[in-house]
């Protein structure tokens, strides 16, 4: 389920505080919207990539956490942040 407005804003605010970017606030916010929308549009694809047992056995939250942990490591962050 897509993030609500206040959550997308919170992502933008944290990104600016923690990392900052040379891009403008508007472009950063649009990028967050696009990533969030892309996740919605591609959930079925992610689901299909999982083994059947995980596809049917994991809850949506567990699948989300799994994705987050993989992405955190890809970004070079420790997985114990979650």
């Amino acid at each position: 389920m897509a993030l609500i407005e206040i959550d997308r804003q919170a992502v933008r605010d944290h990104f600016m505080r923690r990392f900052g970017t040379a891009l403008t606030k508007v472009i950063l916010r649009t990028s967050i919207d696009n990533v969030d929308d892309w996740l919605d549009a591609n959930l079925a694809s992610l689901d299909a990539a999982l083994p059947v047992a995980a596809r049917t056995g994991f809850s949506l939250q567990e699948k989300t956490v799994l994705l987050c942990l993989v992405l955190l490591r890809r970004g070079g962050f420790p997985v114990d942040r979650i």
């Binding site: 804003q9 933008r12 605010d13 990104f15 600016m16 505080r17 990392f19 900052g20 970017t21 040379a22 891009l23 403008t24 606030k25 508007v26 950063l28």
Partner: protein
């Protein structure tokens, strides 16, 4: 000839109860860290010096927490209280209308830029007045597109 009247340092600032810049340090330099998402404000208290007569400007020295020339937008306000003025200091403020401006940040992270804002609205400041200067980054303003913290190192109050 322009005259420096005050150099307002981060450590001499004072803060409201909420939405204020963090007093921090970068490379051992004291800074006021202004957020990119929330409008934050701090104050300095001074006495208007004897001989004050000319127009005033505030020169804000600032650098960013990322490399970008996107601008930050700043607001400076003056509250000047003459003895016996009808201002109840217990409960009221009497800041004049804000004076505002924006500045392109440094293309290289850590490079400082400065912005001069004419204090057209200076609350009829006169020598001997008890004065507060407020400085806010209007992070929600459409002209503030710099998507990172802005570090204020110093504010100079200059008389033309």
């Amino acid at each position: 000839m322009a005259t420096t009247r005050f150099a307002l340092t981060p450590e001499s600032a004072h803060f409201p109860a909420t939405n204020f810049p963090a007093l921090s340090s970068v490379n051992a330099r004291p800074v006021l860290a202004y957020d990119a998402a929330t409008q934050e404000t701090c104050y300095w208290t001074i006495v208007a010096p004897q001989g004050l007569a000319g127009a005033l400007s505030a020169i804000i020295h600032v650098f960013g927490n990322t490399a970008s020339t996107n601008p930050t937008y700043w607001e400076v306000a003056v509250e000047a209280i003459t003895p016996s003025d009808a201002v109840d200091l217990d409960s009221a403020t009497s800041f004049d209308t804000v004076n505002a401006g924006n500045v392109a940040m440094g293309a290289t992270q850590g490079y400082q830029v400065s912005l001069s804002i004419a204090l057209t609205n200076a609350d009829s400041i006169a020598a001997g007045d008890y004065v507060r200067i407020s400085l806010a980054r209007d992070a929600d303003n459409g002209s503030d597109t710099f998507a990172a913290d802005a570090y204020v190192t110093l504010v100079e109050i200059r008389e033309a």
